[in-house]
């Protein structure tokens, strides 16, 4: 049986692919609850990570002719990434022994960078949304670390979540 090809780092020169329009998921005409989603990425020594490729994918709102559900952004000289997208709705969870579950609104996020051998998987949830206590993914995370996945609103429509690859405030990463 064939075995999946190994991951290798995206390296420092992935910007040859860079197209900053990809960070705007509304660029094909999607309308709705438009938000800015941003954050700062740091390493285990607290250094800003200025060469990361950050990608998001959301299963809500559903993909359509005007909404890809996918975005890519480069972290800048301040370690900041920023997306313009639509606020997600709750979606079904994976089926399991608990029966049908429901997931709170979330966006999947991956970090790819020099020194990162394979994608780092995490999620962004939104502070104040209903369903966090019952969310099948958040429920797996020790309460003290759950806040590493929950963005907060810094001004109307602008949501912020810092990401630490390592260290005391290390973001929760997933094995999927």
């Amino acid at each position: 049986m064939p075995i999946a090809t190994a991951s290798q780092t995206i390296g420092p020169y992935w910007h040859l692919l860079r197209d900053d329009t990809w960070s705007d998921l509304t660029r094909f005409g999607a309308t709705g609850d438009v938000i800015t989603l941003q954050g700062r990425i740091t390493d285990g020594a607290g250094n800003l990570i200025t060469d990361a490729c950050v990608e998001i994918w959301q299963s809500s709102p559903p993909v359509s002719d005007v909404f890809d559900g996918f975005g890519r952004a480069a972290s800048n000289a301040e370690g900041l990434f920023s997306f313009k997208t639509l606020r997600p709705e709750p979606v079904p969870g994976a089926s399991g022994p608990m029966g049908n579950t429901r997931q709170a609104p979330h966006i999947a996020l991956t970090i790819l960078a020099r020194g990162v051998t394979k994608a780092l998987w995490t999620r962004i949830y939104f502070q104040g949304d209903a369903g966090h206590d019952e969310d099948p993914v958040l429920s797996l995370i020790p309460p003290a670390r759950r806040n590493t996945l929950i963005a907060h609103q810094t001004k109307p429509g602008v949501w912020h979540l810092d990401i630490a690859l390592q260290g005391a405030s290390e973001t929760v990463f997933f094995e999927i």
């Binding site: 999946a4 692919l17 285990g44 020194g115 993914v137 290390e170």
Partner: protein, 238 residues
């Protein structure tokens, strides 16, 4: 098995760890806490779809409108399949690489080797209905980096693939058969299973090689398959 079934977990040893001692840049960028395994939901089982209409392909990166790049012209062909051997059709592949002298068209690349105004170094191809892809490029040169004394990256082309779900997202590198630098490269050697590293090597193929034109290399990519065995079902219940 439905087309939204979960994807199989990686085969042990087939993927790198995050913390790789010989690859210095991982030291501060690898998570120190254990990863949390989650069941794949709609968010992980589905993924973006790219169409050439919106994401135009660029299948010949060996030239630009104003002229031909310097270096050894190559044709790279291969198939993208899943772990059951099924073709992955109509999926987007992004490529990027150094020029024939080992220099990236990137402001961060300070290697003292010439830039080539006719080589931009990135391309985009789509697999056909049989999962086959093909592009024309220039064989990339080796380049130095500062990981350790006298560190040189082997010749390689970077690949970005999506596949049918976000869980099949893959960033990898294609190497070239016979490259003497492979045995010294910490990134190539970051794979626990040497067989996993060997699968990243494109083979020279005389049948792909075109007379008076270009050398041919074959490189197949395998993406995670959808799992339907009891083993995967057990994982899903975590």
């Amino acid at each position: 098995m439905s087309d939204t079934a979960p994807f199989r977990p990686p085969v042990p040893g087939s993927q790198p760890e995050y913390d790789v001692k010989i690859y210095g840049s991982t030291a501060l960028r690898a998570p120190s806490q254990p990863l949390i395994r989650i069941a794949q939901s709609i968010t992980e089982r589905t993924g973006p779809h790219f169409s050439p209409a919106r994401y135009p392909s660029n299948i010949d990166i060996s030239k630009v409108a104003s002229g031909e790049a310097q270096g050894q012209r190559i044709i790279v062909e291969g198939h993208v399949r899943d772990e059951d051997g099924r073709p992955v059709p109509h999926t987007m592949i992004e490529l990027w690489q150094a020029n024939s002298c080992g220099r990236y068209h990137h402001e961060g690349d300070q290697h003292d080797a010439p830039l080539d105004q006719h080589f931009q170094g990135s391309g985009r191809v789509f697999t056909d209905e049989n999962g086959k892809y093909r592009y024309t490029s220039i064989k990339p040169g080796a380049y130095p980096w500062r990981n350790h004394h006298n560190a040189w990256r082997p010749n390689h082309i970077h690949y970005s693939l999506f596949g049918p779900g976000f869980a099949t997202r893959l960033i990898t590198q294609m190497y070239f058969e016979g490259d003497p630098l492979l045995k010294y490269d910490p990134i190539y050697n970051s794979l626990p299973d040497p067989a996993a590293a060997a699968r990243l090597i494109a083979g020279f193929d005389i049948n792909l090689t075109e007379p008076e034109w270009a050398l041919g290399y074959r490189f197949d990519v395998t993406l995670r398959g959808r799992g339907a065995t009891p083993f995967e079902d057990a994982h899903e219940e975590h």
